[in-house]
């Protein structure tokens, strides 16, 4: 075993990168669930975002436009879910699962001509001043911009949910849609907007994989990241800041276990491989999960 071959600075730095796609997808789903909608289609929206982002980035040469395209793609797919569940009142669990399957197939179809192509490069930011601080600089302030976009989105979601009137309305809709409706709030409209926001975030998360982390398009490349994001929302008790903890913990232990393996640690690899899941669940459960939004997953119709 040679632990000295692990560079802690590089380890912590790659932790932030590893956590970002999950964080992006999870913060979107958190807002959706706070509005009382359970969208199990995160994986499908992520992979659709990944392919949309890749296609736009390759054809325009701009990763930024790629991310916008990914958000739009994810939001459009989410809108489909919104119409089915909010207007046509279909079952949310079944529709969400279908959305995942649909997204996987659709993305494979859309991406057929893009296999093996290279994405335009998305350089890391070297934030002036902060980036030069020893140790902390390389860990926190020398990443690609999307790492910070993810954190800003979490902060914005927290602020929106807890400090704005619109956020209060959204939470009211999620807690008790009948009461919110009786007060004159547009339950369906609020939910569809939340669902589209969730889709856009999932799309960004997917595009982070196809444009930054991998970076290329391969079918099925999200490989379950959407499900991790869904689980983290629940274990984080629907609270934005715990979400960051969960995502970073998961990303961190994932990177750490690979590092330990490469360094030849004498712990059976099976335990190392399961460690990200275990660590994330244990910590978030110990912090005690929050209460699910009251109307989560229930179908709303004004006449009932």
């Amino acid at each position: 075993m040679d632990l000295s071959s692990i560079n802690p600075i590089l380890l912590l730095a790659s932790l932030m990168v590893a956590a970002t796609p999950i964080l992006l997808a999870a913060i979107g789903e958190l807002v959706v669930e706070r509005a009382g909608v359970l969208n199990l289609g995160v994986e499908g929206m992520m992979i659709t975002g990944a392919v949309c982002g890749f296609m736009v980035a390759v054809s325009t040469g701009s990763p930024w436009l790629g991310f916008i395209g990914a958000a739009v793609g994810g939001a459009i797919l989410a809108l489909l879910f919104g119409i089915l569940t909010q207007v046509l009142l279909s079952n949310q669990v079944a529709t969400g699962l279908a959305l995942t399957l649909f997204g996987l197939g659709l993305s494979a179809l859309m991406g057929q001509n893009y296999i093996g192509m290279k994405a335009p490069s998305f350089p890391d930011w070297h934030i002036p001043l902060f980036g030069d601080i020893p140790i902390i600089g390389p860990i926190v302030f020398q990443h690609d911009p999307m790492v910070y976009v993810g954190l800003i989105l979490v902060a914005a979601a927290w602020w929106f949910l807890h400090k704005t009137r619109a956020g209060l309305v959204l939470r009211a809709v999620g807690e008790n849609h009948d009461a919110a409706h009786a007060l004159g709030y547009k339950v369906v409209r609020v939910r569809i907007l939340a669902i589209m926001f969730g889709g856009a975030c999932a799309g960004l998360g997917g595009a982070y994989l196809s444009l930054v982390r991998v970076p290329q398009w391969t079918e099925g490349m999200t490989a379950g990241a959407g499900w991790i994001a869904l689980a983290i929302v629940v274990f984080a008790g629907w609270k934005p800041w715990r979400l960051v903890l969960g995502a970073y913990l998961f990303g961190g232990v994932t990177v750490l276990q690979l590092n330990l393996q490469a360094a030849g640690l004498a712990i059976p690899v099976e335990y190392l491989s399961m460690s990200p899941y275990l660590a994330t669940i244990v910590v978030l459960v110990i912090m005690s999960a929050g209460r699910a939004p009251g109307s989560l997953g229930r179908i709303f119709h004004a006449s009932r």
């Binding site: 991998v214 079918e219 490989a223 393996q261």
Partner: protein
């Protein structure tokens, strides 16, 4: 209600239409894939084999496939579905499908099964595999010659004989040309997860590896190496030529087409019997992709000489003296490994550090 009834009607109509199109005289060949056909690696090449079967026999054969089938109970369900759907021959193309294949084969004695890389056979179950370790030997020679840090990173998928054989084969050749070489092995526990593979490659590079060998199916490690700039990689299962001439300096290419065509023909002729096929470079099942100019010419010549000697059988990739990891003797001087030991290989050769996960 109207929408629902229209949809129901449409589904029914589709079902009737597709049922009517099926021709009972056609031979139906099913394929179960572990990844998506667009993975650019393992499953991509199996699908090329499927397309070759279609091209060869035209309308006489109908092929069906299901991609991204998890190894486990789901695989059994997919195979059962295929057998019930009238498949005459089913190729199950991943090691983890071994027990599901045996279970389903027992229930459908009239359907022929072909399981890739496994070792369990029955009257209606054949196994087939390619001697990828021959390709690994060529890669190991290039890897050992080209590493400057003397650290070669190896991304393993699952600790099964197939993968362990590849590690040993590559190590033996790397060690022969570079006694100081060290292998760092990371188990990804997946055949296909681009993000995780990229992560594993990055970790290995951060820990000093300047050559990456992969036994996972996506091209993500290639991209990670390219981003790092000075890291050598090899295409796995498929040529991955889009990453040449550097970092991808060569590759192992699986070529299943001749085998798939031959076995389909055997079913059509009624001559199919349960067999165990294990072909290598010589038979053309394993191809060595173009060795690019990024490789020094003397190394390239040595690699090609090794490839040719493996192909004509004058050299075996496991030729003694070779000791096991614990120092005990395995192969005496000049002795070559028998297929039985290779098929069930569960030990590292001497010099490799770390333990195989049990």
């Amino acid at each position: 209600m109207t929408i629902k009834s229209i949809l129901a009607g449409a589904t029914l109509a589709l079902g009737v239409a597709s049922g009517a199109m099926a021709d009972s005289h056609q031979t139906k060949v099913g394929f179960v894939f572990v990844g998506p056909v667009g993975d650019g690696g393992w499953t991509y090449e199996h699908n090329q084999g499927r397309l070759a079967v279609e091209a060869e026999f035209g309308d006489a054969v109908e092929t069906v496939f299901v991609e991204s089938v998890p190894e486990g109970p789901d695989a059994e369900r997919v195979m059962t579905q295929m057998a019930l759907g009238g498949a005459d021959l089913i190729f199950t193309t991943s090691f983890g499908y071994m027990d599901p294949t045996m279970n389903v084969a027992a229930k459908f004695p009239d359907v022929k099964f072909e399981h890739a890389t496994g070792f369990k056979r029955a009257d209606n179950v054949s196994t087939y595999s390619a001697r990828f370790y021959e390709g690994r030997a060529v890669q190991g020679l290039i890897a050992g010659s080209m590493t400057k840090s003397n650290i070669v990173g190896y991304i393993g998928s699952f600790p099964i004989p197939e993968v362990i054989r590849g590690i040993n084969s590559a190590y033996i050749q790397a060690k022969a040309v570079n006694p100081d070489v060290e292998f760092k092995i990371v188990w990804a526990y997946t055949w296909f997860d681009p993000a995780k593979e990229a992560e594993a490659a990055t970790v290995l590079i951060e820990q000093g590896a300047d050559v990456i060998l992969q036994h996972t199916d996506s091209t993500a490690p290639q991209a990670a190496a390219q981003a790092a700039g000075n890291v050598v990689t090899f295409g796995q299962a498929s040529d991955m030529a889009e990453f040449g001439p550097f970092p991808r300096v060569s590759s192992i290419i699986d070529n299943w087409s001749p085998y798939y065509i031959a076995r389909t023909k055997a079913v059509m002729d009624g001559t199919w019997t349960s067999t165990d096929t294990w072909d290598g470079i010589g038979a053309g099942m394993v191809g060595i992709g173009d060795i690019t100019d990024a490789v020094p010419s003397d190394v390239k010549a040595a690699a090609e000489a090794l490839r040719d000697s493996l192909a004509d059988g004058s050299y075996h990739a496991f030729t003694g003296p070779v000791n096991k990891q614990d120092g005990s003797a395995w192969l005496a001087d000049g002795e070559t490994a028998d297929d039985g030991t290779l098929a069930g290989m569960n030990f590292y050769v001497e010099g490799i550090t770390g333990d195989i996960p049990q």
